[in-house]
């Protein structure tokens, strides 16, 4: 088992190194933070710009390869991922960003998975009945509707509620009210008021995919020969399905879940932007707009790590639920 893990980890570390290096070289040769500096008032001279960047380790006069070697040396020797053009340290900002993304997505993804899988089982057991048709149609609708539109609609709904009630029940943006003092209870209520809208929005958009997948895989199995065998033993149809078909149909779903869980930490651009939670997702896009080579590369590297963790988790999940798969 450990040999297998070590082998997989080695492969992924190598892949992460390749993607990150390629990403850095691409970023460093295309992103030009110096151009943005020109728009400042008063306009700095080119020498000032170069000077200021050199101090932050972003010397634009070096060629990409030299900068790559410097960057890589700093990471390998001091675990220093460099600085942004505005002087911020990537290492320091990174932790905050990941924590924000995690808080935004953790609850909603767990809800998404639980509701999606449960509804998948529910609808598969009631195939073609009214409840199945309604739920499955809704899931397909959520497939089609672009996520930002759904998020905006939820925001509008929350604002409507606020207006109807006449006071601010829900916060549609932001993480917490700045400068709020008061006891633990007030803090808690404030947190709920901020969490409710994004969590609700991400959940109702997200579970469609799991519902459709779980329903489909379970339907593939409800008429399987082994379910018939279980019924022939004396189990009722529902018992046979829940004990035998469900576990088999969960194998492919478990894999996709394993890929989703680490993605919680990587966040998502639209949700973070729309609800103004500045996590990893929005950081990665912003860093490109701000011509920030180091931040763009760091988010890319982080994405690769999350993907690798997801892949390893998926392998584990499969081994866990399917005895036919052995880790060698």
């Amino acid at each position: 088992m450990f040999r297998y893990l070590a082998k997989r980890a080695f492969t992924y570390v190598f892949m992460i190194f390749l993607t990150t290096s390629a990403g850095y070289l691409l970023a460093v040769s295309t992103l030009q933070p110096a151009l943005l500096e020109q728009e400042r008032i008063p306009r700095p001279t080119p020498d000032q710009v170069v000077n200021s960047f050199r101090l932050k380790g972003l010397d634009p006069t070096l060629n990409p390869w030299e900068r790559y070697v410097d960057w890589l040396t700093a990471i390998l020797t001091r675990w220093d991922w460099g600085r942004s053009p505005n002087g911020a340290f990537i290492n320091a900002e990174f932790g905050d960003r990941v924590w924000i993304s995690t808080r935004l997505f953790l609850a909603s993804i767990i809800l998404t998975l639980v509701i999606g899988v449960a509804l998948g089982v529910y609808t598969a057991a009631r195939q073609y009945k009214a409840s199945d048709r309604v739920i499955t149609s809704y899931s397909y609708l959520m497939y089609i509707v672009p996520a930002p539109i759904a998020y905006f609609l939820v925001q509008l709904g929350a604002i409507n509620i606020n207006e109807t009630v006449g006071e601010r029940v829900f916060f549609v943006t932001g993480i917490s009210t700045p400068g709020l003092d008061g006891g633990g209870w007030d803090q808690f209520i404030d947190m709920l008021a901020h969490y409710a809208v994004p969590t609700f929005a991400i959940t109702i958009v997200g579970w469609g995919a799991y519902q459709i997948a779980q329903r489909q895989y379970l339907l593939d199995n409800v008429n399987a020969d082994f379910v018939r065998t279980a019924r022939a033993k004396g189990l009722t149809r529902n018992q046979a399905i829940s004990r035998h078909a469900l576990r088999v149909s969960f194998i492919p779903v478990a894999q996709s879940i394993a890929f989703t869980i680490p993605a919680i930490f990587a966040g998502g651009f639209f949700a973070e932007k729309i609800f103004a939670w500045h996590g990893v997702g929005s950081w990665s896009i912003d860093s490109i707009a701000l011509q920030d080579v180091n931040a763009a590369t760091a988010t890319l590297a982080y994405g690769s790590v999350i993907f690798a963790v997801g892949a390893i988790l998926a392998d584990f999940a499969t081994t866990l639920v399917d005895p036919r798969v052995r880790v060698q």
Binding site: K7, D225, G234, R237, R247
Partner: protein
């Protein structure tokens, strides 16, 4: 159930019908089915799949239900078990120990399913849940019906059950998952689950169809033991008349959802009174008969049950059909007063002592122009010299290392002369198919020499030589549906090989018309697509395609194993005819030894990549010398109840060994019944030396040190309990 309750619950008409059918209420019947009807609502209309079935089964007795696919056998069994989808309309009565089962809710039915009423299904590979251990699945069957049973008692019972069905070291195997078992072992587990609660009725739906003959013999033996152990009544559903001949006490022949003939096993096999039964019996080739007659083909296909038949449902396929047959469906009528033998045919009286071959238009046995020439004087069409195919067995993902060799084909030599049919037989995994692939490969770097029509793979294996080889040799595949492109018309299918050879269009067109006629298809059907033909017709198209380029040798890979018996007979007759008329040679691979005996001139028996016995088919089959051949032959069920009852059957232990465990000396020693009976001093030779095929004066060679040796008594079974 008693006759009183029957009379109370069913109408007078049904009672009369039952009395006539000889199926009326024998007291003590454990399962009684009366006027069972099943209808399915489909897009094309209501399919009346089962139309009035009556039978009783007594404890400890076996009822065989036989018929072609689509005759309603499986639907009947599923209806009894209450496992049909809720959309199926079921009417009639199914009584288990006098209690009515039809109309019970799923929940109420669960009290009987797996308890008094158990079932073994056809495909053991998919019938066990892959994610639970075998032990869990057996124990589940115990838990459902004995909630108070202690965990320990359930464990002990599961071990006992596994032992009963012949799984070695049952205690350890409880923790194994289904995928760690072979097909035969999984079917044993299925039987263990079925008999876990000592059922009164055991329904077996084609329990051995998916298995090799040797494994089939083992599983039938286990079923037999299970029946003796539990005293259950067994309902055996099968299309194989050989399998039921030895097992059943009574037979019900089904056609188009109805019983068309019922009676004791001897009545049905020795004096059938319904043309359909006669046809079925005549369609089965016999492994134990050397005399050659053509098989009885039953032309046509079973009726579509969307439309209720207005006359005898078999009339369109019956050679004896007359006007009267089309006037109303005949009832099941007793053949002779009180004999318990009934048939649904208005000509029953005329059919006494009539041979099935006589009423069906059985073609004469075709004679090839080569048959008169002695074998040595005929030209060689195909020759294999020491052909080997070894696969390395690798382990490790990044750095692979060789941990062994699978000797799929290990030093094969044989030749095929003009006009003869040479067959290779053996269990799955013995290397039959690899041999064919090696011949089709025809490459210079192969290990061993393949000579096809004078062309050797060693001399010139360029594209041109290969094209020449393809003209000499063509192939017919096992699954006729998979082997034909569904988007090609028959014309395109047949034209392709000829276009490849650059034949002019006009010649191709003419040849296609010839071919269609040759294989017995209507020439104006060339523009149809494969899915518009039946299975047998598709296989005929496959044969026509192989013959398009006028090959001298046709390779047949299990050509009839996907077909129903009645259809199979027609295709076998066609192959026989083509061999004689066109002077073809065949190389056939088949697992059905009866088919092999019927069609072949010579045969090779393969075991783990080697030929263990080779020679003239009659010599090998009548006087097998190698213990493996003896075991294979004894495992084939024969459609002759008398013979089946007294026949000595060799039951091989276990499955084909894994290639990694191949023994050093004789490959077969691990399962050999002769080896097991030898004193240790003589066993030594088998374990250290590898027996070779010894040259012989007659056309029969075998690779065994102790041919005709004493058989180990434990491996020989004779049933004389009927």
């Amino acid at each position: 159930m008693t006759s009183n309750t029957t009379a109370n619950t069913i109408t007078q008409g049904t009672a009369e019908r039952l009395r006539v059918a000889g199926l009326h209420a024998p007291t003590g019947a454990v399962l009684s089915v009366r006027d069972l009807n099943v209808r399915f609502n489909t897009e094309n209309g209501v399919v009346h799949a089962v139309r009035g079935i009556d039978f009783d089964v007594l404890p400890g007795k076996t009822l065989g239900i036989v018929g072609e696919s689509g005759s309603g056998k499986s639907v009947t069994s599923m209806a009894i078990m209450g496992l049909l989808p809720p959309t199926a309309e079921i009417s009639g009565s199914v009584r288990l120990n006098g209690k009515e089962l039809l109309g019970l809710s799923d929940k109420a039915m669960c009290q009987y399913r797996g308890n008094d009423l158990a079932m073994v299904f056809q495909d053991p590979l998919s019938s066990l849940t892959p994610v639970y251990t075998v032990g869990t699945q057996i124990i589940e069957a115990l838990t459902v019906h004995n909630p108070t049973m202690s965990k320990r008692a359930k464990g002990a019972r599961a071990v006992e059950l596994l032992g009963l069905v012949g799984i070695p070291s049952p205690k350890d195997r409880l923790k194994a998952f289904p995928h760690e078992f072979s097909g035969g072992m999984r079917q044993r587990v299925m039987i263990a689950i079925a008999i876990a609660n000592n059922p009164r009725v055991l329904i077996a739906d084609e329990p051995t169809t998916a298995l090799d003959v040797t494994i089939q013999a083992q599983v039938l033996e286990v079923l037999h033991a299970a029946q003796e152990e539990t005293g259950a009544a067994v309902v055996m559903i099968t299309h194989d008349l050989g399998v039921v001949a030895g097992m059943a006490d009574d037979i019900m022949v089904m056609y188009a959802g109805r019983p068309v003939e019922t009676g004791s096993v001897d009545d049905i096999y020795y004096s059938p009174r319904m043309p359909y039964t006669m046809g079925l019996l005549g369609a089965v080739p016999r492994v134990d008969v050397a005399e050659k007659t053509s098989l009885v083909p039953i032309e046509g296909i079973p009726p579509n049950l969307v439309h209720p038949p207005t006359g005898c449902s078999f009339a369109p396929r019956c050679p004896l059909a007359s006007e009267a047959c089309l006037d109303g469906e005949p009832d099941l009528r007793e053949v002779a007063q009180g004999a318990g033998h009934s048939a649904a045919c208005i000509k029953t009286g005329v059919l006494a002592d009539v041979d099935g071959h006589a009423i069906f238009a059985v073609p004469a046995v075709p004679v090839s122009r080569f048959d008169r020439l002695p074998r040595q004087e005929r030209k060689t069409v195909l020759e294999l010299r020491d052909v080997r195919k070894h696969f390395p067995l690798m382990k490790g993902a990044l750095l692979k290392r060789r941990i062994g060799t699978v000797k799929a084909v290990d030093g094969l030599s044989f030749d095929i002369r003009e006009g003869e049919c040479f067959s290779i037989v053996g269990e799955s995994g013995c290397g039959k198919t690899t041999t064919l692939l090696e011949i089709m490969e025809f490459h210079k770097d192969q290990d061993g020499e393949v000579v096809i029509g004078g062309l050797s793979n060693k001399q010139s294996a360029d594209a041109r030589a290969k094209a020449g080889m393809r003209r000499e040799l063509q192939m017919v595949f096992q699954d006729p549906t998979g082997a034909l492109d569904p988007r090609f018309t028959v014309y395109e299918v047949l034209a392709e090989p000829m276009e490849n050879l650059g034949m002019p269009r006009a010649a191709i067109r003419k040849r296609i018309m010839e071919l269609m006629e040759l294989v017995g298809l209507q020439a104006d059907h060339v523009n149809r697509f494969p899915n518009q033909f039946s299975g047998g017709q598709r296989q005929r198209i496959g044969i026509a395609r192989a013959l398009a380029v006028n090959p001298r040798l046709v390779v047949l890979d299990e050509p009839v194993s996907a077909l129903d018996v009645s259809v199979q007979a027609g295709v076998i007759n066609l192959l026989d005819k083509l061999r004689a008329e066109l002077g073809l040679s065949y190389l056939m691979v088949a697992h059905d030894l009866s088919v092999v005996r019927h069609i072949s001139n010579r045969v090779a028996v393969m075991y783990l990549g080697k030929i263990v016995e080779i020679g003239d088919v009659d010599a090998v089959f009548d006087n097998p010398r190698h213990p493996y051949t003896r075991a294979l032959l004894s495992a084939i069920p024969v459609p002759d109840p008398e013979l089946e009852r007294t026949r000595e059957r060799i039951i091989l232990q276990g499955d084909l060994p894994s290639p990694l465990e191949a023994p050093a000396g004789c490959n077969f020693a691990t399962r050999c019944p002769v080896f097991a009976a030898l004193p240790p001093a003589r066993q030594e030779k088998c374990l250290t030396l590898e027996p070779a095929l010894e040259p012989a004066a007659t056309d029969q060679q075998f690779a065994c040190f102790y041919p005709d040796g004493e058989l180990d008594a434990d491996m020989v079974v004779v049933h004389e309990n009927h």
